[in-house]
Symmetry: C2
Subunit: 373 residues, 2 copies
Amino acid sequence: MGAPKVLYPVASLSNEEYPDHIPEFRQFEKDFNVVYKSFDQPFEDIKELFRTGDLNDVEAIWLTGAVIRLQYPFNDLIDYFPETLRVIALPWVGHDRIDGAQLRSRGIHLVNIGDAPSKDVADIALQLTLGTFRYTHFFERKLRESNGSIAKAREVIGGTDVDTKTREPLPPTDPKRKNYTKYVTVGGKALNSPAGKVAGIVGLGSIGKEIAIRLWAIGMEISYTKRTPLKDGELSGLPYKPTYFNSFEELIPHVDLLVLAVPHSSETTHLINKDTIKLFKRGARVVNIGRGSAIDEDVLLKALDDGTINSAGLDVFQNEPNIDPRFVNRHDVTILPHLGSFTEDNFRNSTLRTIENIRDVLVNGGQGIHLVN
Amino acid sequence: MGAPKVLYPVASLSNEEYPDHIPEFRQFEKDFNVVYKSFDQPFEDIKELFRTGDLNDVEAIWLTGAVIRLQYPFNDLIDYFPETLRVIALPWVGHDRIDGAQLRSRGIHLVNIGDAPSKDVADIALQLTLGTFRYTHFFERKLRESNGSIAKAREVIGGTDVDTKTREPLPPTDPKRKNYTKYVTVGGKALNSPAGKVAGIVGLGSIGKEIAIRLWAIGMEISYTKRTPLKDGELSGLPYKPTYFNSFEELIPHVDLLVLAVPHSSETTHLINKDTIKLFKRGARVVNIGRGSAIDEDVLLKALDDGTINSAGLDVFQNEPNIDPRFVNRHDVTILPHLGSFTEDNFRNSTLRTIENIRDVLVNGGQGIHLVN
């Protein structure tokens, strides 16, 4: 009997796809029988590989983007996995696309990387928060567009009008610009300090807690909602005292900034919708680093237009891998291409955790270090 | 004898220039004899206004940008100020352009707004820090340029080559792109987590301390240098324990991120120069929110090219109000148009503090609440 077989699905057979620049991964390749298999083939063929082909004795699958981008639902494969399969390892956190219940019924462990990327994701939430308060992303772009003229980059400050098509703030020289304010605004939206304002975090799990400490450090008061409030033991170590709200609907009227840090589920779909949008304080900010499905984007865009929402910071979108073109030219959104935990450090950590998880199941007979509940 | 006369210099006589949208300022206009005077006139004429014109009994000057943009040095006016002048009030922090010693010798108090904008400026330092580690500014722009395609915005990841002219990272489709890496890079520069890395802050005053708590919250270790180390009393309230270094030269070899938070002075001019640049760890990051003069920009640009410095975040520049055009297209810098404390909240606070300062001197006979040392 050879080393346990681990499937590493790839899009092509290019070695660009697997992390053999990490020494621990090279050791993993020695300890296990790692099979690189292109998944760019019809469902029937993949099915047969699992049933009668050379994947019929596979013991672990290291999931990759190649599987997520399949032309058929990954879950349709589960019935055809061989009896030998004991673990499916996600080198990331989100598992909403995978049918965990069905895997459990087959005795297959589903593992992810736990809280490894929490700090990195929270940094993106912080970046987006600062963007919504200070319009930094907008001024960064303006300074480049003005070829390095600070005066030109700042000339839109105080203006209240925007181009009705592009939603770009109008400069003083534009004949369509009618109004001016002494308030510190761009396109009619105020630039504010986050200090002293109230942040509401939806989902105070591992990522949410990392977000909370960051928002506390920039002077914000922390409120949150989640299924069960934090216990005394969890609260005692924190430098801030968060205020708990029983529901999303009770939380939002209190917040100047709402941060969505929830995974996708039926309960978190369209948390921001045409009814809940009415509950916001006028001029509140919204940040989403969880899943795009949490926001009805039509509702958000309308709220940005009418000033209900001052600005938004989005790392995730409803229709990824594309985003609604109405976001592209707006000055009152910060948009990022789902950067999440995209760092060299996290790539290394998530590789190491995936190795640990697979080793725990296949070698130690455990259920994986980071079993998905 | 009427109310004390306060000069409010303006560029034109448009009322757009003074903050009468703030109720406390309207009260100030009632309590004092506020004179709005255009400074857009020759030195000889301004001089005469102070000597024999209607400014010869002015008791306070509320400085404005109109004075800073004069065609002659503001300090040349000091000799001509009338004996009645008791206070010059800056509605901002930086006072390096004003000859405080000369004012003191004339018995004129120079006041600023103290630590009012510290949190806002520290937020910009934090934003720039996250930008240098995560290249968020670059990806924000890319997502817009790619008309909202997340895949297209991310295609440069892993590439090591940049266009030699624009310094833009080359996409995989570019025939000039030769190299690929499995590391998480853009244009050969690594994307990293700040967590666990060492930040060195130059100048741990009111702004520096606000920066420190923010960098601690994103998981960084805090080092610093300043003329005198923090006292035990100042340290006891902090959630982190900062490491003190005696000098800039001793600090920099230890840091993954250097944050410059120093005012302009002969001692802080070109702290980063052709000698000190050699002391950095390879791939360190640099953030400057103090004064542009602290960095020899030729040296920084070369260090960015050769990888000595991974990336830089700059809110201030050597040649404001313009910036070196070599920064404009680079992907490895985040550039902001000197946003500093540009918020509605700070504008209000600094107006209130300026009123307090002038009232303290003219009404209470004090030396101003926030006397510049």
